[in-house]
Symmetry: C2
Subunit: 212 residues, 2 copies
Amino acid sequence: MTGSPIDFFFDPISPYGYLASTQIEALAARHGRTVDWRPLLLSVTVLQIMGMKPLPLTPLKGEYSRQDKHRLASLLGVPLVEHGLGGTVSPIKSLRLFMALKARDPALAARYAQRLCAAHWAEGQDIGDVGALVRVAESVGVAAGDVHDALHDDAVKDALRAAVDDAVALGVFGVPTFRVDGELIWGVDRLWMLEHWLDVGAWTPREGGAGT
Amino acid sequence: MTGSPIDFFFDPISPYGYLASTQIEALAARHGRTVDWRPLLLSVTVLQIMGMKPLPLTPLKGEYSRQDKHRLASLLGVPLVEHGLGGTVSPIKSLRLFMALKARDPALAARYAQRLCAAHWAEGQDIGDVGALVRVAESVGVAAGDVHDALHDDAVKDALRAAVDDAVALGVFGVPTFRVDGELIWGVDRLWMLEHWLDVGAWTPREGGAGT
């Protein structure tokens, strides 16, 4: 029961990241692992570094994901709404607050991150709005004053920038990405692969059955 | 044992398509389904329509997939080599031949397609080369003369173009894509999701367990 933590890279604007956020703590606990929640900005990796369009605006794939995320939510038994906010929501403030909370108490930051993703994808809230962030923060016991302080702290801004740089340096580009024992696993559709690693510790088929 | 066929969209230049090509026939048979092998050109969907770079040339994601495909091959227990041919291989001729064979005998075309993907990814052959195509064709009982005839037949060229247009019209963009009962499922990492649909017939969790 003492394996190294699972790094969990999330960006609240990703529906697939939200779906994974509903599963990762229980999955890790089943295997005696903890979760290190780490922020990613898809606007940096997908748009700036990879030169791609945002997923909702990508021909064919955008339409696929519009349907697909609901299938996965149904399979996982979690709520998912169409928030109708398009690609206009910025996660920057919400992730700055995450960094401030993580410096104070990583477990608190993880609870905030779970609520944050759910506020956007299960309740349809605009998490680019400071009022929404205050409500999420208050729901995990953080005072509104602390939210405002965090959002105006240059050290917090720097911490988020450094965290995203760290993720990119590890090769992380998409959300969700899981990193365990040095292995990167991208996609909520690969929870089976994360479980496989945690069970088997190698990329060999399970005894007596197929790898999948 | 009489479900509708599973459409299987492949492009031999995709390693993930190759990996799926080693699994799909047995998977379908386990569920009383047949497979309709259908061609896709990633150069049309990914490059032209979606405006993306080829996967090997995409920052971060290219490096991820270079490692990742070997993990999946290991999990599936199939060979996979680094062919070292970069993004220079054109699948056009190989897929024209596929269309010619499919018009003659779909089962023969499927056997050819399996051998074609394996020639590239398990043996490292350059499948843009007509000599390699002849060897693959001969291995499934097709004469070299038939290969040359097919590659110079304008009707075959038109048939491939129409098949790719049909795939795009269905919303297919990536390889492998499975289409069953109107559901599109993209990715070899989603074989579990295809199996789920074939077992359950809905996007609801299995009784007594999680969906994944």
